[in-house]
Structures are given as structure tokens and as C-alpha cells.
């Protein structure tokens, strides 16, 4: 994540780097384990947690620099299970919290774990605006197509006909299409993976972490208790099909013509419109300055205009105008 480092001189005003008491020794994923997860046996969320551990281990992200943020829901118990700074916030607002944290502390690695209800329903507005503003963070939405923590109510991604405690005769509402929603919101990195393919999940997570700006992963994560079998159609072990997007290699071969160009929004939208189980991988990936960088530019310009004046001198100047 070297491209996330910012000019230390200009960021000094935003954050003073902590004194490092000696570089920590390399850690293993087992070191990141904290509380014993309280998810049901067989829950897809275990795979996401384990993949996150593998990712941190591979990258050796300084542990004190990782902040795991979540909202409310089964997925949002996540921070308790990670030995790193963490925040268990209120329902739907983890992305808003993470926005403030990421903008004010550009030295941190802010990773948000959310669910379909938390991200697409109660937190839908925040998702949309963090995406459009390209605020630097990685969001993993663990989509189980049901409200699990509250014990089986219809969620925004529950398919029509899904029988829940709030729709005993089957859901009558058209579900959200997360991929279309994320693309339309203007996210600069949008990917899709599933609990049933941990290796694929790791690859996608690594690319999301490397992305500068707002990166989001829609991750199917089965609720074995309240929506079992929901993702069988995407699971080869259950007779389904896990189709991975073939990305352009720009090798000039005729096959390459048919491959997906992740910078092509219309093509990404087409992939997003495929019926379930659809395809997996990186739908969309473009380089745009993160809001964090644009804000830093504002700061640099303003500091240059004041000649880098200290806060006291700056404020004195303003007050002189008000006399």
C-alpha cells in the first residue's frame, strides 16, 4: 500500500506520526486472533475473517495501523475477533465513521466490514456518498441476503419469494442489485466474491487494499441458520457455478477482445446485470484521486497562500481583518 503514503511534510499539520518503539517483528495470522468468534458454526463470515488475517499477514501491515470498523449485524461483530484497533459503531453508519477517520488520519488502514442490511439498507446513503467522494477505505459487505442477528427478516438483497418472519408468504419486493448500486454510486473499485472461494476472496481483497480511494467488495457469505443454500448456485461443491471474470491482458490476441476491461463502466454494468449467480472478480477498477488526496491538495494550496504561517499567525491575521 505504498501509494497511500502522503508527503510527510504537508501532512504534519494533520497528523504527527507516533513514535515507533522499534519495528515490530513479523506476525502470523494466528497472532491476529482475538475473541473467539460468536458466529454460528458453518457461517460464511468465518472465511472472511480468516482471509482478512491472511491478507494482513501477507502484507505485514503494522498492527497498530490497522483499524477494523463495523456497524451492526452478524458481520459487524468482526472487530472483536481481530487483534487490532477496532470500532463497533452504530447501525448503518460505519462508513460515515470511517470517512472521518480516514480523512483525519491518512496514515491508517481503515477497513470496514458490513452486511447487506447495514450497507445497502440503513447505511445506503453513506455508501453512496463515500463511494462518489472516493474516500480512501476498503469496505467488505458480507451479504447473506437476510437479517441474521435479528433472526430472519427480509433484507434488501433477499430474493423475491424468500420466506422470512416479516414475509411469511414470501418477499414481494424487488431486491437491490448491489453491483449495479455500487457502480451507479461511482465507486472506483467494485468487486464480487464469495465465502465458498477463499483463494479468490484473498486475491480480490488484496487488489482492494491496493486501490487508492474507495474500494468495495460485495462478498456472498452464507447464513446457514436463516438462509441456507442461498448461494448454492454459485458454489461448485453444491453443483453450482463460480464463474470468474476474465480480465483483459492487453496481449493483442483475438481472445483478449472478449475479455473484460475493468475500466469500462458500461461493460461492468452489463456484468452486474447478469442473473444470479452472475460472475465474480473485479467488475470495475479506475484510478481517480481519492478525496483524501484532493483535500491534501486544498491544504497544500492554503498553506502555500499563507506562506506556511503557524496557527497563531494565521488567526491573528484573520482577527486583524475583523477589527
Amino acid at each position: 500500500m505504498s501509494d497511500t503514503t502522503i508527503n510527510p511534510a504537508s501532512s504534519a499539520a494533520v497528523v504527527a506520526a507516533p513514535a515507533q518503539p522499534g519495528q515490530s517483528t513479523p506476525y502470523k495470522k494466528v497472532d491476529l486472533r482475538s475473541d473467539r468468534p460468536t458466529w454460528c458454526p458453518g457461517c460464511g463470515d468465518y472465511t472472511v475473517l480468516d482471509t482478512y488475517f491472511r491478507l494482513c499477514e501477507r502484507r505485514q501491515i503494522p498492527r497498530e495501523k490497522i483499524v477494523t470498523v463495523s456497524g451492526i449485524g452478524c458481520s459487524s461483530r468482526f472487530p472483536y475477533f481481530v487483534q487490532a484497533h477496532g470500532v463497533h459503531f452504530i447501525h448503518g453508519r460505519a462508513v460515515a465513521f470511517a470517512s472521518g477517520l480516514s480523512l483525519s488520519r491518512p496514515d491508517l488502514h481503515v477497513v470496514v466490514f458490513s452486511g447487506d442490511g447495514d450497507a445497502y439498507s440503513i447505511g445506503g446513503n453513506h455508501l453512496e456518498h463515500a463511494a462518489r467522494k472516493n474516500i480512501h477505505m476498503t469496505l467488505v459487505v458480507m451479504d447473506n441476503m437476510v437479517y441474521g442477528l435479528t433472526k430472519k427478516q427480509t433484507s434488501p438483497t433477499s430474493p423475491m419469494g424468500f420466506k422470512s418472519k416479516t414475509d411469511p408468504t414470501g418477499s414481494i419486493d424487488i431486491p437491490t442489485n448491489p453491483m449495479q448500486k455500487l457502480l451507479a454510486a461511482g465507486a472506483t473499485f467494485v468487486a464480487r466474491t464469495s465465502h465458498s472461494n477463499p483463494q479468490h476472496m484473498l486475491q480480490v481483497m488484496e487488489r482492494a487494499m491496493d486501490h487508492r480511494g474507495f474500494s468495495v467488495i460485495e462478498c456472498l457469505s452464507e447464513c446457514v441458520e436463516f438462509h441456507p443454500g442461498a448461494f448454492d448456485a454459485a458454489n461448485p461443491r453444491k453443483g453450482g457455478q463460480f464463474t470468474i471474470i476474465e480480465e483483459k491482458k492487453n496481449d493483442g490476441t483475438p481472445e483478449d477482445e472478449k475479455r473484460h476491461d475493468p475500466s469500462d463502466e458500461a461493460a461492468a454494468y452489463k456484468l452486474a446485470s447478469l442473473p444470479f449467480p452472475g460472475v465474480f472478480g473485479v467488475f470495475y477498477d479506475v484510478k481517480e484521486p481519492a478525496k483524501n488526496d484532493r483535500e491534501q491538495q486544498l491544504i497544500d494550496n492554503a498553506r502555500a497562500a499563507t506562506g506556511g504561517a503557524a496557527p497563531l499567525a494565521c488567526l491573528q491575521k484573520t482577527f486583524a481583518r475583523l477589527k
Binding site: 504537508s10 504534519a12 499539520a13 494533520v14 497528523v15 504527527a16 506520526a17 507516533p18 513514535a19 518503539p21 515490530s24 497472532d31 498492527r63 497498530e64 495501523k65 483499524v67 470498523v69 472487530p79 472483536y80 487490532a84 484497533h85 477496532g86 470500532v87 463497533h88 459503531f89 452504530i90 453508519r93 460515515a96 465513521f97 470517512s99 472521518g100 477517520l101 480516514s102 480523512l103 483525519s104 488520519r105 496514515d107 491508517l108 446513503n125 453513506h126 456518498h129 483535500e295 486544498l298 491544504i299 494550496n301 492554503a302 498553506r303 497562500a305 499563507t306 504561517a309 496557527p311 497563531l312 494565521c314 488567526l315 491573528q316 484573520t318 482577527f319 481583518r321 475583523l322 477589527k323
Partner: protein, 601 residues
């Protein structure tokens, strides 16, 4: 204001200046007439001339157009209110005359635009100064036949009438117009000079302010309450804020958005009020107290976020520039009806600090204090300002910035293996390590809205909830012990004590002073810290037969305003009564005195 001569045309010579201590001028017109500009220039100019000043304005809630006023009170002594009556009324239109003549005191001066207003000259209570302002402005600016610029004509006219230093004033106009087009500035000066050159002749008198005996040699700064608050936050070291546009607090976010980058900070215009408070909490968690500013409807939306900050014990400053409520209510009018939501808003037992500044100067210092309190007690602090304080312009002594301006360092002190984020200490105050802080044994804290044990882990054991609820409450009890007991102004014992908070304090104090001067002793006390309350109030209350709480909110189902009800429940004192008002305007001194008379009869 009664210093202004009551005589009608006694001395008409313009060279003959009547000395005055204090003048209240109301300019009434339409919102697009640039009335606010004249008012603000007058206010700033008065401050620069070491006069005390306070202003008041109304703007229509519509987007453009509609009647608008700007009232400015300029005094050689301490100015506590903007004045019940006005000495000089400027009427641009007939509707301005019709609507505002009622506030012109007997013997006052009516300046009116003869092109638009036909006053009843038979009413001999007033001095009439009729000026063809529209025609003369068009003549002065020349050409296009529109009257934009008559505000500057008026400024010239007032400068002449009040013997203001035109050289200084023109220098100020130049600075004000520095970013405007040259042609506009030329027109501005032409209109200003035409106004200054207009001889009111025998129609009225000219006045001169007697020099102010200044308390210290420090110069005055002139600004609105919203400005003062924004600069106070910057002085306190705040480097992150988030808000959503809302009247009447948007000016705070506009200033912070413009100013913070100069200080290396960021201001986020959030997608909604909820995101704003949550982003501010996120930044506060990052290690530096952050701010979100709003008005009543926004505070309602932020309550869940504030509850999290209380539970997780994260510092936060929330500014509520109150307006009339509930719901959309009166967006451009003042009210003090958010006290309950500020103190009690949200679910659960949710203690937080609430303080209320009384004027513009206090708004500056309160925002600094709020930041310090949030840091020290690691909890949210709500500042209750209101539309009157937020919008009005006042002059106050330039703060000693070199002693005030501070940085807010992030606490990265490494923590030992024994570190517990929510340790049940005697004072209950946590010291959260900012993310980035190394923790021995990698026992990193998880901050959570779930009830938790000392290590921060959620648990079902009900003992934790009892312990932690008490811990969060105990912090504020510790704070209460350190708060100063408010001082009683006026007799320390007696018949009636006025108690007030926020912007109701100015008129309450003026009422008490007036009543005492008129031979009917009346004491007054201001409560700045509303939650927790300062110690010693009960003892003060016991020295008076009657305690009347003056506040701009409803007397409620049981006859008591929001603070009055709180004080009654806190002190079980049946002698606490209530003076309330809900017309969206600040109290007039006369209204308070009448209410006191009615209740003491």
C-alpha cells in the same frame, strides 16, 4: 438611548452636534436592498471607533426578496441588548414604515424615502427626515435608472447625521469592496458621497457619540456569533469538522470549510446530519476532538451518534444554533427550546456536557472550553447557541490569541499489557489511545456501543452495565465539583432573582439593572453550564423569595419552561417560576419587567 434629545427641531444647525451615549438604528427595507451590508459596516465601524455595538437582523425564510430589517445599537457603555425601541427608523418602503413605526420611540427620528413612503406627518411624536433616496441614488450613480446603491447613500446620510469619521469609513468601504468590480466600487462611493453631502437642514439634528471609556487598551473585534464560534474552535486546535447545511448554523461550516485547510485541517460537507456526526466521531476517535455544527432538526438526527460517543466515551463537540421548533419550525428565528434534547436527547441513560454562551464574545470562549471539556472528560459536549447569537454582530475585546491558540496533540503514548480502555477508576475518565498507538501484548482496544467490561469486551453480565452507567455519570459529577458557582448581579438577597441562560441573559441583565436603578431591586444570575449544573445554586435560591427563570421557550404543560422545570426537579424548590416567550424574537427588557411585575403583584 434616552440620551438622545427629545426636542423636535430645537437646533437645526448641522454644525451643532448633540452629544449622545447610545443610539438604536433600525433599517427596514427588502432583503435585496443591501441593508445587511450597511448594518454590518456600521457595526464594524463602531467597533473600530471603540464603541460597543450589538446588531440584530431578520431575514425572510424565502430564498430571495421579502421585507428585511437590520438593527444596530451603538453605545459608549456596555451594550447588553439590541434595544426595545429604536431612536432612528429608516423606512425604504411604505410597508417598512407601516410595519416598524411602532418600535420608533416618542421623539425618535424617521428617515424615509420620499419616493416610496408617505408618512402621516400629523403624528407629532416623531421627527421626520424625508429624503428622495431612490432618485438621488440614481442621480449619483448615473445612467441605468435602478436604485442599487441606495444602501450606500443611506450609509453616507447616517455618517453625516452621526458625525462618523468619513475618511475611516471610506477606507473600510474600500477594503470591503476590494474584491468587487471597479465600476461597482465607483458607484458605491458616488452613492455614499451623495448621501453624505445631503443636508437634512431644518428637518432634524446631527449627533455625536461621546467617547467611550474603554476598560482596557485592547482593540475591539467585530463579528457574528457563528463566526466567533468557528474561530474559537480553530483556536482550540480543532482540525476536523463535518456538517450538513442548515439554517441558522451553516455559516459555521462555511467558515470552517474555508479556514481549516490553512491550519492543515479538513472540513467535510456530509451527505446528511447523521453522517456529519458520525464522521466527526470517527475523526475524534482518530485522536483529536472534532466538531459537528447544526440546528435543532439536525440535533434530533444526531442523537444516536451522540449516544455512541457517550457509550464509547469518545470526545466530541456538537454545536446547536437553536431556531424555533419543533420540526422545520421557524428556521430564521431564535428560540431556546432545545435544552431538553441537548441534555436528555437520545435513548438510555446518556450523560453529556451542555453549555450555553450568552453573547458573541462568550461564543468564542465557549467553543474553546467545549473542546477542552470534551478532551478532559472524554465525552460529547453540546454547545447551545441560538439564531440571535449566531447572526448578530457584536464588538468585543480582541482575545489574547497568543495565550489562547493551541495545538491539540494526539495521544500516542504506548500502553502496557495491563491497559484497560474502560478501567473503573474513581473519576471514571478514560484515556483512549488513538489508533496508531502500540499496545503491549497487542491487546488493542475495541471501542463499542455495546455495554462492555473494563477491557471493552461486550458481555451479558448485568453488573457491567450498572458499573459502566455509574462510571459515565460519575465523570460529570466530578466535573460539576469543579464548576464555579455563578455570581449574582445585584442584591445578594431579596425579593426576586432572575435566572437566565444563553441569549436571554442580556435582556435579563438589562432588565435587572434598569429595575434596580428605578428603585425596585432585582437580581440576576446566569447559568452557563446547564449539564451538569454548577454547585451552590440552591443556596443562592434560598436567599430570594422568588426565582424567575427567563427563557425563550414554552411554559409547557405544567407552567414551567425547560430550564425552570429542570431547576424545580433538581432543587425541589417551589419558589422557582418561569417567564417564557415563543414569538421567535429575543426578549425585550420591557417584556421581562412586565412579566416580573405580573408575577410579583
Amino acid at each position: 438611548m434616552s440620551n438622545m434629545s427629545d426636542s423636535n427641531g430645537g437646533s437645526a444647525a448641522t454644525t451643532n452636534m448633540v452629544p449622545i451615549k447610545d443610539a438604536v438604528i433600525r433599517i427596514a427595507g427588502n432583503s435585496q436592498d443591501g441593508i445587511q451590508t450597511v448594518g454590518e459596516l456600521l457595526a464594524r465601524f463602531s467597533g473600530r471607533s471603540a464603541q460597543e455595538v450589538m446588531s440584530y437582523m431578520t431575514i425572510p425564510a424565502t430564498i430571495s426578496g421579502g421585507p428585511s430589517i437590520y438593527q444596530v445599537r451603538i453605545g459608549s457603555g456596555e451594550v447588553l441588548t439590541v434595544g426595545d425601541e429604536v431612536d432612528v427608523l429608516v423606512a425604504f418602503y411604505q410597508h417598512s414604515y407601516d410595519k416598524h413605526l411602532g418600535v420608533l420611540r416618542k421623539g425618535g427620528v424617521l428617515i424615509y424615502d420620499t419616493d416610496h413612503v408617505e408618512p402621516n406627518l400629523d403624528d407629532k411624536r416623531f421627527t421626520y427626515v424625508g429624503v428622495p433616496m431612490t432618485a438621488l441614488t440614481i442621480e449619483a450613480i448615473g445612467g441605468k435608472g435602478h436604485d442599487k446603491g441606495k444602501n450606500m447613500f443611506l450609509l453616507g446620510l447616517l455618517a453625516r447625521m452621526f458625525d462618523l469619521d468619513t475618511l475611516k469609513l471610506e477606507a473600510m468601504l474600500k477594503a470591503w469592496g476590494a474584491k468587487r468590480e471597479a465600476g461597482t466600487m465607483e458607484a458605491t462611493f458616488n452613492a455614499f458621497r451623495a448621501g453624505y453631502g445631503f443636508d437634512i437642514g431644518r428637518m432634524g439634528q446631527n449627533f455625536r457619540f461621546i467617547p467611550n471609556e474603554r476598560r482596557s487598551g485592547r482593540p475591539l473585534v467585530v463579528m457574528a456569533g457563528n463566526q466567533a464560534m468557528a474561530y474559537g474552535l480553530i483556536a482550540a486546535g480543532v482540525r476536523f469538522g463535518a456538517a450538513y447545511p442548515i439554517t441558522p448554523s451553516s455559516q459555521i461550516m462555511e467558515i470552517l470549510r474555508t479556514e481549516l485547510p490553512k491550519y492543515g485541517g479538513i472540513f467535510l460537507q456530509a451527505e446528511d446530519e447523521i453522517a456529519a456526526v458520525c464522521a466527526a466521531i470517527g475523526a475524534s476517535y482518530g485522536g483529536r476532538v472534532a466538531v459537528t455544527s447544526t440546528s435543532g432538526p439536525g440535533l434530533a438526527l444526531k442523537t444516536e451518534g451522540i449516544g455512541w460517543a457517550v457509550m464509547a466515551e469518545i470526545p466530541l463537540v456538537v454545536i446547536d444554533v437553536q431556531r424555533g421548533g419543533p420540526s422545520t419550525g421557524l428556521p430564521t428565528k431564535m428560540e431556546q427550546s432545545d435544552l431538553n434534547i441537548a441534555i436528555f436527547g437520545g435513548h438510555g441513560d446518556c450523560p453529556r456536557i451542555v453549555l450555553a454562551p450568552t453573547d458573541v464574545e462568550d461564543a468564542f470562549y465557549s467553543s474553546i472550553e467545549a473542546v477542552d471539556l470534551a478532551r478532559k472528560y472524554s465525552c460529547p459536549v453540546i454547545i447551545l447557541s441560538d439564531q440571535a447569537i449566531g447572526f448578530r454582530v457584536e464588538a468585543f475585546e480582541e482575545p489574547e490569541l497568543d495565550k489562547i491558540v493551541r495545538e491539540m496533540p494526539i495521544d500516542f503514548t504506548p500502553r502496557g499489557a495491563e491497559f484497560k480502555p474502560y478501567e473503573d477508576t474513581p473519576d471514571g475518565i478514560p484515556h483512549h489511545p488513538a489508533p496508531g498507538t502500540p499496545i503491549a501484548n497487542h491487546n488493542y482496544p475495541i471501542l463499542t456501543g455495546l455495554e462492555h467490561n473494563e477491557a471493552g469486551h461486550p458481555g451479558e453480565d448485568p453488573r457491567f452495565h450498572t458499573m459502566m452507567t455509574a462510571k459515565r455519570r460519575r465523570k460529570l459529577q466530578k466535573l460539576a465539583e469543579t464548576l464555579p458557582t455563578p455570581k449574582v448581579l445585584g442584591p445578594a438577597h431579596g425579593d426576586t432573582l432572575l435566572v437566565s441562560w444563553g441569549s436571554a441573559y442580556g435582556p435579563s441583565r438589562e432588565a435587572a439593572e434598569k429595575s434596580t436603578a428605578d428603585g425596585q431591586p432585582l437580581s440576576v444570575l446566569c447559568i452557563r453550564y446547564l449539564n451538569p449544573l454548577p454547585p451552590g445554586l440552591d443556596e443562592i435560591f434560598n436567599r430570594f423569595k422568588r426565582i424567575l427563570v427567563v427563557e425563550n421557550n414554552d411554559s409547557g404543560l405544567y407552567g414551567y419552561g425547560q430550564l425552570a422545570a429542570l431547576l424545580r426537579s433538581r432543587y425541589c424548590n417551589p419558589r422557582i417560576g418561569s417567564i417564557n416567550k415563543t414569538d421567535g424574537l429575543s426578549f425585550k427588557v420591557s417584556e421581562i419587567l412586565e412579566a416580573v411585575r405580573a408575577q410579583t403583584r
